[in-house]
Symmetry: C2
Subunit: 594 residues, 2 copies
Amino acid sequence: MTRPISFPEDGAQRRKIYLGDGERPDLRVPFTEVLLGDSPSASGPVPNPALRLYDASGPGSDPEKGLPPLRRQWILGRSDVEEYEGRPVAARDDGRGASARDGAGLRGSTQWRAARSLPLRARRSPSGKSVATQRHYARSRVITEEMRFAALREGVDPEVVREELAAGRAILPANINHPESEPMIIGKRFLVKVNANIGNSSVSSSIAEEVDKLTWATRWGADTVMDLSTGPDIHTTREWIIRNSPVPIGTVPIYQALEKVNGSPEELSWELYRDTLIEQAEQGVDYVTVHAGVLLRYVPLAAGRLTGIVSRGGSIMAAWCLAHHRENFLYENFDELCAIAAAYDVALSLGDGLRPGSVADANDEAQFSELRTLGELTEVAWRHDAQVMIEGPGHVPLHKIPENVALQQQLCHEAPFYTLGPLTIDVAPGYDHITSAIGAAVIGMHGTAMLCYVTPKEHLGLPGREDVKQGMIAYKIAAHAADLAKGHPGAQDWDDALSKARFEFRWGDQFNLGIDPETAQAFHDETLPATPAKTAHFCSMCGPKFCAMRISQDVKDYASTHGMPVSVAVSQGMREKADEFREKGSNLYVEPGV
Amino acid sequence: MTRPISFPEDGAQRRKIYLGDGERPDLRVPFTEVLLGDSPSASGPVPNPALRLYDASGPGSDPEKGLPPLRRQWILGRSDVEEYEGRPVAARDDGRGASARDGAGLRGSTQWRAARSLPLRARRSPSGKSVATQRHYARSRVITEEMRFAALREGVDPEVVREELAAGRAILPANINHPESEPMIIGKRFLVKVNANIGNSSVSSSIAEEVDKLTWATRWGADTVMDLSTGPDIHTTREWIIRNSPVPIGTVPIYQALEKVNGSPEELSWELYRDTLIEQAEQGVDYVTVHAGVLLRYVPLAAGRLTGIVSRGGSIMAAWCLAHHRENFLYENFDELCAIAAAYDVALSLGDGLRPGSVADANDEAQFSELRTLGELTEVAWRHDAQVMIEGPGHVPLHKIPENVALQQQLCHEAPFYTLGPLTIDVAPGYDHITSAIGAAVIGMHGTAMLCYVTPKEHLGLPGREDVKQGMIAYKIAAHAADLAKGHPGAQDWDDALSKARFEFRWGDQFNLGIDPETAQAFHDETLPATPAKTAHFCSMCGPKFCAMRISQDVKDYASTHGMPVSVAVSQGMREKADEFREKGSNLYVEPGV
């Protein structure tokens, strides 16, 4: 059914390939293919099939140009969207820092696009309709190119993708103004996904750094990236990120709205927020976190907590509610918000503004009250055919994780769960990628569809390049641990291929199959730097003279050369084997390079 | 009940203290005490009590002298052991490398002790008796000083320690020839413990490096250390390690026995093994891994596996069984082995020689067959009053972990479980401290008593100093996550103290309460290096102008200054609060250093 289209890095042991579905030539789905060496056997070398891995790294690009608009023809081909002159970009869209910049003036989307001859017009569903969402198509029994693409990536039938989307159990974030993205699906029946947060703040980072972090995050497997910028050039940074992103981009629009009112939450309004949401939807943001469940009456529930409100968006909305003694304007205007989101196919990620900030506050009344409201809002969004997922904690000790997922699935009608960690303990600042990878693996096993990574800098500072890598790797580990535990079809093939390579001392294959080949090889070389060691039939743990794996290989070889099931090898041939063993003597131990 | 005895590092924010039980002046139990700053409140600063943490780091020492023999008087005071001239140390005790050394000749225990005026004689129970084991005392309803010490460390009644030991649900590894050790207990009703493996191999490391790794491992919280040396100077390395170790030392005697026969497993014999066991028991080894469950008939079960036999000890015994077509000599002579172990109170750690080496092989017939045999052997050991724990895997995907623990507890009559990881996936060489910390936390939650750490170098090379630290920290995280999940009394106090400090921006307290204060502070300083930032009431994530935690502090303050339960703060005072909020304006945001 699938066939390779091209091998851009032919000859390499680990390379990107594209597979099609044999029907549509413009459906080119990327995979990482790892070519493997032969296995030794008594009857000569036995070839091992190449292994294909899910690949989120994108085609690579010149950041100044942006990525090619892969989905453009698919979107236009459906003939159900209108192009229009988008809202004019204003100076304040770039936040408080805009005027303090290096004199280049506004570098917003209009100028950026004009300079690159990109279309200046935005796309949306015709007024009053929401025909352009993947949920709408799925419910109309239409299998889009995006669904086919995601199905090929996942190795499932496109109908499975459509069904899960139609039922609301999955989302396919794909803003029609972000045609550069490679479609992917988030839902519990699919591979567990990982989101990486990037973004500048008022105390650090530049635009170029953020684009570099985006590319770096997807290189390590980020399935989506959230731009949480709060610093200068907020609009322009996002434009650069979206135009260069092969993965869906998420944001928290209230962060930008707050910058537009100089950081004073009480000056926020629905009108300002709506304008910001449209601004971001026109740019191509694929999903937005909306803290519409932080209701006025829930705010005091957080006051009795050990760590109050730790969600930035949650505290902004709480501050607004307190300042005006009015209900959350996102909740009050949620219908209109959904209609805007649906017009661009911006997926809604219902934020957990009252998520616990410590294990002490996990699964408390504040958190679960908000969750109940998110369940109601899910139904509202679905009525608009907007795609929805639900954000989750945070800090949760291991034994409280199952209840958290079960309640989310029940209250939110199986809408996909998207959790931050959770951190399972509070006492390891500097290592929260690990404290939370533990929780992420377990919450993933219980049905969470996407994990938001946590870096070693959590609680301490903004992640740099190395932190992004460490966070991503910890979370790819957690996601794969969950895939295995869920019995995801094909997930274990990867482990089996690596373990077989390990057992057969195919060191190069072991490195190439690993999540981080370079680090694995570097660690190996620290103990055994000589080149022959890479093909040596021993590992450094036991040294060249004895190796645990050799003896079991010997048992296996014996059984297979005598053509008997291994279970009867002892009774039929052990005596003979014993003699042979003694005769061979030290031949059991293979010397380096032999 | 407990009272501080001394403050060796008085004045420091994080310092070692010793607590006694008010009865025995020589019972001085170490703790790490973290002194905390005041919490701000509307009515002025409120002091926070100091937090005391379990401390395995030992008193520190000059490696050339060794540690003071803390337990010597307790052991002699029981008047139930005899001193005798130990077996003479032979050149081959130092393994194949002995003759190739730097010309210093044998530096074995006899010479080492003589040079330091330490007793040359060994202690044991009188022939034919096993009166000296902690299990024996516990079953005789005697609460030893060791039990009191362990109970104080754990914060439980000494009778709980005695009961668990008597029932076989816990062990207190305390060889009477290792009086330097600080007693600790391993059992599911106590804090989850972590073991660190160190040891040289034929391809790397020196004696001094290994002693340094021991001290380094306990500095990061290792509760026991296993010396897995297989390289040169094996006897002498162990002597240095034991004399300098405040924690129980474990070994795998078959490794040394194999060195004595130049690495040829078929030349091993019960007599050689017994002599090696006595050699190590006289030196003071506290527990030994014994692969007595690798029966001849189980060996072929491993041949059908993806990764055969990966336990080094398991494969040595399998090789011996194959070579001689005879039953495992450790199994055949297990009664005598137990008698020797009991005479010195060497605890037995029944090795899982057939543990899975990949997720594909987890929970298979080979593994569970051996486990059934370990259950039988547990009962044999208990008849000798030897202390026993059971080793476990290895590589196990998350969903198969609960069955693993449940079966071990059932088949082995609740003897403590001691697991290596397990790794939950196979595809992250270079990051197996993380793949396995996930499994370790979950298996700990289900009742595993001690976790054997895995370092980033697993499968790739021998761990160096930094690997030991990274492995230890990942496992202290896993152990604490399990303690929280089990609802261990007092475990959450630590998290709550840190989370409170975090919420109140007491940065110094947050660092000092962390598992690795230096790293936490260094990470913080990368983003906000200026000194005022350490006392700033904001964090670098949101910058100085807005902070999520501030707003919830504000809600809390409001409720408390108005003397009302927080739950009614909204209904009674929200309008007033709203006015106040608008008036205060930007005072909500605290500037750096203010």
